[in-house]
Symmetry: C2
Subunit: 310 residues, 2 copies
């Protein structure tokens, strides 16, 4: 089993890359749910959905989220009632949220719901939310606290970040299968996801960080920062707010003690020594997943760094 | 104030007819909510919505319900999860239900929600649900009990009806304003709605029937049965099941003691004597609202029968 900790857009692309070179059934994804939130009475689970849609080949590639070719007619109609519509949910996407919400109200745990939705989309990778318990990523700014979605989607990550906390994480338990997926993995990957916004909430669930630290296999992270910028907002903004260098070395600081290896982009080759100084062994590769060839090349580099045969 | 008891399709058309000849602000509609039901975690209130959409000029005229030009993309997507999709809810229509459901979960009474939705659609007629309390129309068939929507929409009214009951009606109270709208009316109309499926549930809410019986003004019903058939299913099927004659005289039997006058269609002129025998004074008019002229002509006939100036 290959186990991947991940968030949404970057994570989903890395999973698609891996799934293109190894049997998807060998892969387990442990997905951030700190961004989950209620909108208009439906429970939205952005990262698991992005991963599901991407692995199903149905994600809107340009936006990185939502279903390709979706329309937003219900949302336009909702505006008539004076409701907030900054969180974009498509008509077909809404069906997923309504189905999920119904099952949650019927007391299904989130992990079972996530598996049900993945099955409906024909996804072969095993998708696990980090926890069945509610964890909320809260961004503390100079103007007060924001939920992750308000910070990112409504306010476009423009507020300087002072701190980030994961409400409920202390009392949360890893979802069934999460600790086992770490313990029994032949390799553990940290996808090129937002370290603070996507990976940190997973690590904040008691038991997960310890399981990773105790793992005897290679732990390989992929840097989401390329050339001093994040490929997806708001990784750079959040790292800067918390005092990390916004470059491969800053990512290495975050993963020190967690990942043995950090794959950094070839444009950041000059930072390899700085990465090594922070702890992880640097591996330089082409990390930007522009096309199928680039995806396969990154997946191959990641598997090689982890010492895993495809 | 002109007060109209009504259901969905037939009721909405009659209200539009009245609103075309008198100031809409003079009209209060008391609307059946026995068809209300939960679908996919959202609370659907079919008759108030049909009335709202129709008075806003946005109803799908051909179907008689839903919004004109609506799409059904979310519903097609929901089918992927194996959920039942026989109850058709459009993408834009769904926004209304989600908005309603959110407000109900915030403990708004249904009457306030109904008024809020009507306001958002620019409706000037005052719309009152019959009750803020939950009343469920249950159709008893030879194969068991069906909710009204299952009976009508899923099974196309094909089951022979043995009885109809209005679950919860005994404990329900009229919504705020309902008894006053009957008491202070200058005329009371029963729209050409399904007597058993739409009018009877309203009358089953304690206090409403008594208020109508005590009213000192003209009470005028319009027959929904024309030429021995109902203009909208399932009025005829339900009347037949309960042992009513399926014609103007059967409708007169239903309204005996409630309506002083029954407007019957000109094609049913031969049944006028039979109507009079059952109690209500028959008035023959063109009742089929084919076009604007027909609508205005029926509204004028109804106002005349009620002795009310436009």
């Amino acid at each position: 089993m290959i186990t991947v900790l991940c968030g949404g857009v970057g994570g989903s692309r890395f999973l698609c890359a891996l799934a293109a070179v190894v049997d998807p059934a060998r892969i387990t994804a442990i997905i951030n749910t700190g961004d989950d939130d209620w909108f208009h009475g439906v429970y939205v689970s952005p990262d698991p959905d992005i991963v599901t849609y991407a692995l199903a080949g149905e994600v809107d590639q340009e936006r990185g989220w939502g279903l390709r070719g979706d329309s937003f007619r219900w949302l336009a109609s909702l505006a008539r009632f004076g409701e907030e519509t900054w969180f974009q949910i498509g008509d077909r996407d809404l069906a997923t949220h309504l189905h999920r919400t119904r099952l949650l109200r019927e007391r299904w745990p989130l992990s079972r719901v996530t598996a049900d939705i993945a099955r409906a989309f024909g996804v072969k990778v095993r998708l696990l939310p980090m926890s069945d318990d509610r964890v909320r990523t809260v961004v503390e700014t100079h103007d007060g606290e924001l939920t992750f979605q308000r910070y990112l989607v409504q306010r476009h990550a423009r507020d300087a970040v002072r701190a980030v906390r994961f409400e409920g994480a202390g009392q949360a338990r890893p979802a069934p299968g999460v600790v086992e997926a770490v313990r029994d993995a032949e390799a553990i990957f940290f996808a090129p996801s937002n370290p603070i916004g996507s990976i940190a909430p997973i690590l904040a669930v008691p038991g997960i960080r310890d399981a990773i630290a105790a793992a005897r296999v290679r732990r390989v992270a992929v840097s989401p920062i390329v050339g001093g910028r994040s490929l997806q907002p708001p990784a750079a903004e959040m790292m800067a707010g918390l005092g990390y260098e916004v470059d491969a070395a800053g990512v290495a600081t975050f993963y020190a003690g967690l990942a043995d290896t950090l794959i950094i982009d070839e444009t950041d080759g000059a930072r390899a020594a700085a990465v090594a100084e922070r702890g992880p062994r640097p591996v330089v590769a082409q990390t930007v997943m522009r096309d199928d060839a680039a995806r396969r090349s990154l997946a191959a580099a990641a598997l090689h760094a982890a010492g895993v045969a495809p």
